[in-house]
């Protein structure tokens, strides 16, 4: 495990993070935005695990955070789907451009 330099794994998690951001900012389909948010969360998870493993191998703090995040991500996904379903019921579409009522 220690043969892989930390920077490689951080590169992967950073890439995942920015892919997730890109997806969040540019996708019109709300489900896809949700998937992008999950990507972001997962990239953060990777960061935690990596730092835990490489910097503080004796402790398990990072792993605890990761478990928390997975749980919360699951709950948040459930809430988000519920919101999307409600939006679909009023707008008949899950295109985020159609939910622009907060415009000036």
């Amino acid at each position: 495990m220690s043969d892989v330099p930390i920077s490689h794994i951080l590169f992967v998690s950073t890439a995942l993070f920015f892919i997730g951001m890109y997806g969040l900012f540019t996708r019109r389909n709300m489900i896809t935005m949700l998937m992008a948010i999950e990507l972001i969360l997962n990239s953060v998870n990777i960061n935690f695990v990596v730092f835990n493993k490489y910097l503080y191998p004796e402790n398990l703090d990072g792993i605890f955070f990761t478990i928390f995040i997975i749980t919360i991500a699951a709950a948040e996904a459930a809430v988000a789907i519920a919101i999307i379903i409600n939006l679909y019921r009023s707008h008949r579409s899950i295109d985020v451009e159609n939910a622009g009522e907060m415009k000036w």
């Binding site: 951001m21 969040l24 900012f25 985020v96």
Partner: protein, 675 residues
Amino acid sequence: MNYSSYIALIPLLPLASFAVLGLFGKKYFKNLSGIIGCLVLLTSTLLSLYAAYHYFFVDGKINGSYQTLIPLKYTWLSFSDSLSIDMGIILDPISVMMLVVVTFVSLMVHIFSLGYMKGEERFGTYYSFLSLFTFSMLGLVVASNIFQIYIFWELVGVSSYLLIGFYYDRPSAVAASKKAFIVTRFADLGFLVGILILGFQSETLDFNTLIQRLTDIHSPQLLAIASTSFLGISLLTWALTLVFIGGAGKSAMFPLHIWLPDAMEGPTPVSALIHAATMVVAGVYLVARLFPVFHINEASLHVVTWVGAVSAFLAAVIACTQTDIKRVLAYSTMSQIGYMMFALGVSGYGGENARLTDAVGQGLGYTASMFHLFTHAFFKSLLFLCAGAVIHIVHSNDMKDMGGLRKLMPITSIAFLIACLAIAGIPPFAGFFSKEEILMAAWQNHPAIYYIGLITSGITAFYMFRLYFSIFWNRTPDSQLTTPLAADRVPPSALAVGQGLPKAQHHSEGTLSMKLPLVILAIGTLLVGFIPFSKFISPDGKPFVSEMHLTFSIVPVAIATIGIFIAYRLYFRRSDRPEKLAAALGGLYNAAYRKFYIDEIYLFITKKIIFNLVGKPAAWIDRNIVDGTMNGIAWTTGRISVLIKGVQSGRVQSYALYFFGGIVVLIIVFLYLWK
């Protein structure tokens, strides 16, 4: 009995009459208002006569001169410890004389109006305005404080405005009243600035103290005011000239005279009272009141003299061509007041050095001016009231509609003749004596003025008798009143306005109330010339002796007689001589008929220059530039708001983007820039 018990009643009784008739006249008194007005005026006149008797004969002279008394004084508005407007009553020879003149003429007019304005719907209002005017004029003549005279000056102006515009549904009357007020207001601006200068420099507003400080050659105030100069002219000259401008406006001196002819739109008794005998002499009275100060300042006296002389001459020339009888009389008033003004201008001022027998050095001009004021009040108001009687019958102001009226109106005709002889300066009528003294004073001091006065008196005789003959002779009595008299080539005068709305139709000379004042004034005109005025009125209070010099009088009387003769030749019988003469004089006649285009010049200045070049730009700037800036600020704010509101796009993703962007900025700031 001392003065303070009754002197205040003289102006206050008419004030009470104004209030009562104004508030209740229409509903409760109606025809009674005339009687109330006359009774109040009668009381005031009797009190004034008593005051005159008391002043001149009971109190008499002390140390050889009449004293200036101030029986009443009350601080009205105090500006600082030394400057305040006090309401007071001053009694000196000229104020007592004016009290008598104003109340007497006003009484005559009140009585005349009983018949003239009978049937008028606003009878009560008319009498209340007359009372207001009488109150204001009386207040003016007894004012002891220079601001007090200004206050009553304005009140007289507004009374005149109300009375000229009495027939308010006629646009010409409304325009005339506006013109009178605004021209005199403009003059009052000069008066106000003059008061400010005089009051501040002499550190007092009280007439006596002011005169004393500005005539005593050792006083610091005189030194200060005479040595300060602005634009090369001494402050004293500025002050006096500005004050004179105020007087010139009220007295219809050139070039502020344009309101007087138009003021004839008012009812004729009003013209008799205000625009002949009393209000228009206010300017002369003001100069007389401040005469000691005027006397030490040569420059302002020159202004007074020349303005007076030019006005006298100009008005006489214009009067020769006018066909509206009231306008002829208006110009004649302007001319006579010009005489009074230049008489003051050429006057000496008595003092310790002048010899008692040197009448001119003693102030003959001053006395003559006041004497002429006194006699003029009689014969001019008589002329106007007679004109009123004529207009009442003929229902027209124009000479063309008149002629041969002497059989129809004998009393009026004789009274008019007496007045014309008086104004022409024929002995033994009143005008002769006063004019003599004026011409004498001019001859001694300033011969050029004497010649102007002489020529003018000839012209005066001419146009007055032109008027007399045109009205009362000029055709056989039983012909119709339709054929024209004056030159045909001149277009029908726009000046001839049909006089107002008396409801009663008389075909006789008028009621007793209209005849009585004429008789009384005619008798007065015959008698007042013989009053030895210089025994009572002189600039410094010391009476002097003034004699008649027969050799001197021959020339003016001769010239006047020539004038009468020319008028007789042209107008006694119907002929075409007037037209031929007018044609011969051509352009000069036209110019005089058009009043030398002075009205047109004024209209040009006000409409084209002041309205278009000052008023309109001011309003435009305010609407578009100043207000435009405010609207512009609002518009800019709106535009910025439109630009910025795009941020609130309603798109969640944009918000997320801004959110992350902000975080990035903050991270950079905190990691690298915050020390």
